[in-house]
Point group: C2
Chain length 200, copies 2
């Protein structure tokens, strides 16, 4: 867990992912947490509508509603991070996807969200996740206003080496609590299941 | 399975999904098959980069590479369908995602892909899948040329009632072969796993 005395504290098993492999953190379609910061304001929301957009340089897309406080922070800072939460974080994910920081001022504390910054100037990342993609917004005003769609270029990527290494997810044989999540609706998640290798 | 003598033959358990629930077919981030037709040409490709974009009217987005034959058909017809394949279809999914119809003329036959049309004018859908979304392209030339990104409005949606009913996926207690797929890379899929219900 995070060390609240030291925001630079890095979680155990936190490992860099080569940028040309970063898309693989999202390729299986997990629900993500979008973290952002502007000035002293930090927020985290959940997003099921996110996926890779390009391999190299890696790009991602994510839908961020106009009503969200995250939208304000992302538009002001031009940056966000996508964090891949685990089965153990399902209640947290539902919580930060249901409450808005516009209404619930202590939203992160209420849902036990801890953040850390891997480098001094980085967007805060969410502790306990197993994948992280730091992104810079590629401005696309029409997509943003018409569809709430944001495109980002991935500038750094990290993963929990217990479940992602050599560019692949490897959940089998690990605690089920480290598996990733896929949100359906109404509090229902589907957990990432077995790995299946098909020879081409 | 499809009846090749009767293209209008509908698969067992094929059930309409209300348009305002259509996003739930994709909300968990499955890998999809993109089917399309122009004139007599029908094609099917796999796409991991797809997700919902709006609730109502429902919209989806999907990345369709310029080099794909599907791209030609979608641009010519202005329509496509997203089909949600099952664990039993993992080899088919990998196959239609690896071969291009530009090079492999009998691609669909080679990979045992059978299609059917739920209504006479519909885009062909892929047999054996458990979710289907028929879409009309919303023209966005900049997204299409710059990012290979296509936005579609969902005009009809269907699901296999064994694993999707009352607007929810319900894989638990059914054959694992009916579970959906999430592609990673290099022939590796992650199968959709357990359902987890969190009370808000």
């Amino acid at each position: 867990m995070a060390n609240p005395e030291n925001p630079e504290f890095l979680p155990e098993f936190f490992s860099p992912v080569a940028l040309d492999k970063a898309f693989r953190l999202l390729n299986h379609g997990p629900t993500v947490l979008v973290s952002s910061q502007h000035g002293d304001s930090v927020n985290v929301m959940a997003a099921a509508w996110s996926c890779p957009l390009d391999f190299s340089p890696p790009k991602v897309m994510v839908v961020i509603d106009k009503a969200s406080y995250t939208r304000t922070l992302v538009e002001a800072s031009g940056r966000f991070a996508l964090n891949v939460p685990t089965r153990a974080m399902a209640a947290l994910t539902l919580g930060v996807g249901s409450d808005s920081a516009s209404d619930v001022k202590d939203k992160l504390r209420k849902h036990h969200v801890e953040t850390f910054t891997p480098t001094p100037d980085a967007v805060p990342l969410v502790h306990g996740c197993v994948g992280w993609l730091a992104c810079t917004v590629i401005p696309e005003p029409h997509n943003q206003s018409q569809y709430d769609l944001f495109i980002g270029e991935v500038t750094a990527a990290y993963a929990d080496s217990r479940v992602f290494n050599a560019g692949r997810w490897c959940f089998d044989g690990r605690s089920d609590d480290l598996r990733t999540l896929h949100y359906v609706s109404g509090g229902q998640f589907l957990v990432t299941g077995e790995s299946l290798l098909i020879s081409g």
